[in-house]
Amino acid sequence: MASYASRRAANRIMMGLCWAATLFGLAWLALILITLFWNGFAGINLDVFTHDTPGPNTEGGGLRNAIVGSLIMTALGVGIGTPIGILAGTYMAEYGRYSRLTFYIRFVNDILLSAPSIIIGLFIYAALITEGIEHRIVGYSAIAGALALAVIVIPVVVRTTEDMLLLVPNPLREAASALGLPRSHVVLKIAYKAARAGLITGVLLAVARAAGETAPLLFTVQSDQFFSLDLTKQMANLPVVINNFAGKGYANWQQLAWTGALIITLAVLTLSIAARVLSAQRTQK
């Protein structure tokens, strides 16, 4: 056995490295946020929200069409995905809690939760859009993008719904059943109410996830520079605009890419902090 002094020295070194690792991790977060704020804030002005994205070699311009497009597609994606996710999570926690089927669904859902998002884009493309064949269902459109986002949203909501409903104490359900409430009412009026904060947390996290996704939108909505509210047509959106603008040589495009990145990051961080505050309140009760 090594001497006491050498063991203490080893301990010092390793614990020092753990400190260093933490500082290293936090430093990246700080570095990314600082760069983002530094470059993004320079471009924030009224034009960003009132003008549409500029074409090549055009002065000025804003992100209005992209912001509106992102809001529409995220809302639609979450709107489609959330009910399916909540209902599926309800089945797993309330009806099939110990069944084999629930076990498989949970396993598959966890895999979908971490599946590469570019695959989801390819899936919607291959399933709905595919060019050059006759029975194509929708073209490159906002609705296709929203469906891709819905596929991203579903596993997030399923996971949190199941987890949150499992936390609801069984005596609550038993008391409701003893009063003669049917099962569906026990779920809808009692379990959902008890798990409400958790369910909202899940939806917020899903919105945060969907709002920043780029890869699923690359092949499902072709972003353009026009303002559009037509769901069956192409629609501009922030992540793809950032993707298209960042690598090009125009100074105003790069500036808009940074500004867009800042807007998305602020939105996503606000949502995830809100979700955390909400779930912290629930655990304190």
């Binding site: 063991r7 203490r8 301990n11 390793m14 614990m15 753990c18 400190w19 260093a20 690792a21 933490t22 991790g25 936090l26 990246w28 977060l29 570095l31 990314i32 760069t35 983002l36 470059n39 009910p83 399916i84 209902l87 599926a88 089945y91 009806y95 099939g96 598959v108 966890d110 895999i111 971490s114 599946a115 590469p116 998002s117 570019i118 695959i119 989801i120 390819l122 899936f123 291959a126 579903i154 399923v158 049917p182 099962r183 569906s184 809808l188 709002a211 920043g212 780029t214 092949f219 072709q222 992540p239 993707n243 960042a246 690598g247 990145a261 998305i264 990051t265 961080l269 995830s272 955390r276």
Partner: protein
């Protein structure tokens, strides 16, 4: 039951008995409907997985039929001659992820040990949340950030991509290691401290061995993320279908190839890209499935 509902519509003349019967009837109906609706939604999750695999196979079929197994080890990617071999994107994907894990795993474990063993209680939550926020930042942000701040120093190389991936995967490894570390029963640690172990010895000889399966599961989950990451990598890797000996030369990954080339592709080219997507899905599926199985084992251990 239909009669009851009809008389219900007539209103006040119903006796209490009839009202009760009609209420039970409605209850039974909503019960059955609600149960079935949730069941269908749950099945939908399984159907989704099947639909993803099926539609990718259908889309990739022309390429699968034309290139066969050669697709997997062909090194040439020539759009003009319509020869597609996936070796260089496969190599890029595996290599970037491997290096990323090499960087992220020790650091992530270090942070997890810090958070569970060293950190003052007041700082534990804020630091934990900060690391988790790092996980919430969308990948396009990492991409544009890496493109403007890392590539001027490192160039568009495989190593730059690995570095960005390491930063992205770090929070996943950290969060899961921290969670599994906190499943170690306090008695075990206290016993080791009681024998005179230092903090490092407790971490090395008690915490890590106890949670080994869970840590490996967390690492695999991070690996699953790294393998499929698209936007961050596309910006910094240089997108070149070559397998160079040096890590400091441009390369490509499966996801970067798809993201870059999909829009300009058609016919067999597009089908080859879909086959790449299928390949990526199969790889990540097995990695993630292995991760889940390992994490389930540690959960069962913690529950018992």
């Amino acid at each position: 039951m239909a009669d009851v509902t009809l008389s219900n519509a007539e209103g006040k003349s119903l006796s209490a008995q009839q009202q009760r019967i009609s209420a039970v009837g409605i209850f039974r109906l909503t019960d059955r409907v609600f149960h079935n609706v949730t069941f269908v939604a749950a099945l939908f999750v399984l159907i989704l997985l099947g639909a993803i695999i099926l539609s990718l196979i259908v889309g990739a079929w022309p390429a699968i039929a034309k290139f066969g197994v050669g697709f997997l080890y062909g090194e040439r990617w020539s759009v003009n001659k319509e020869i597609f071999g996936a070796l260089s994107p496969i190599y890029g994907t595996l290599m970037t992820s491997f290096i990323a894990m090499l960087i992220a795993v020790p650091i992530g474990l270090g942070i997890a040990i810090f958070l569970t063993e060293l950190c003052p209680a007041a700082l534990r939550r804020p630091i934990g949340i900060a690391i988790e926020l790092l996980a919430g930042i969308p990948s396009i942000i990492y991409g544009i950030w890496g493109f403007f701040t890392l590539t001027p120093f490192f160039g568009q190389t495989l190593l730059t991509a690995a570095l960005i991936l390491a930063i992205m995967v770090l929070p996943f490894v950290t969060a899961i290691s921290r969670d599994v570390f906190s499943t170690v029963p306090a008695v075990l640690k206290e016993a080791a401290y009681g024998l005179g172990c230092t903090t490092w010895e407790v971490a090395k000889n008690v915490v890590v061995p106890y949670t080994r399966v869970g840590v490996v599961g967390g690492v695999m989950l991070g690996l699953g993320r790294a393998l499929g990451e698209t936007m961050a990598v596309t910006f910094v890797i240089g997108n070149s279908h070559t397998i160079a000996a040096s890590l400091l030369s441009p390369a490509t990954t499966i996801s970067a190839t798809i993201a870059n080339e999909f829009q300009e592709s058609d016919g067999i080219y597009r089908s080859a890209l879909l086959e790449l997507g299928l390949l990526l899905f199969v790889i990540t599926f097995f990695v993630l499935a292995a991760a889940r199985i390992m994490l389930m084992r540690i959960e069962r251990k913690a529950g018992a």
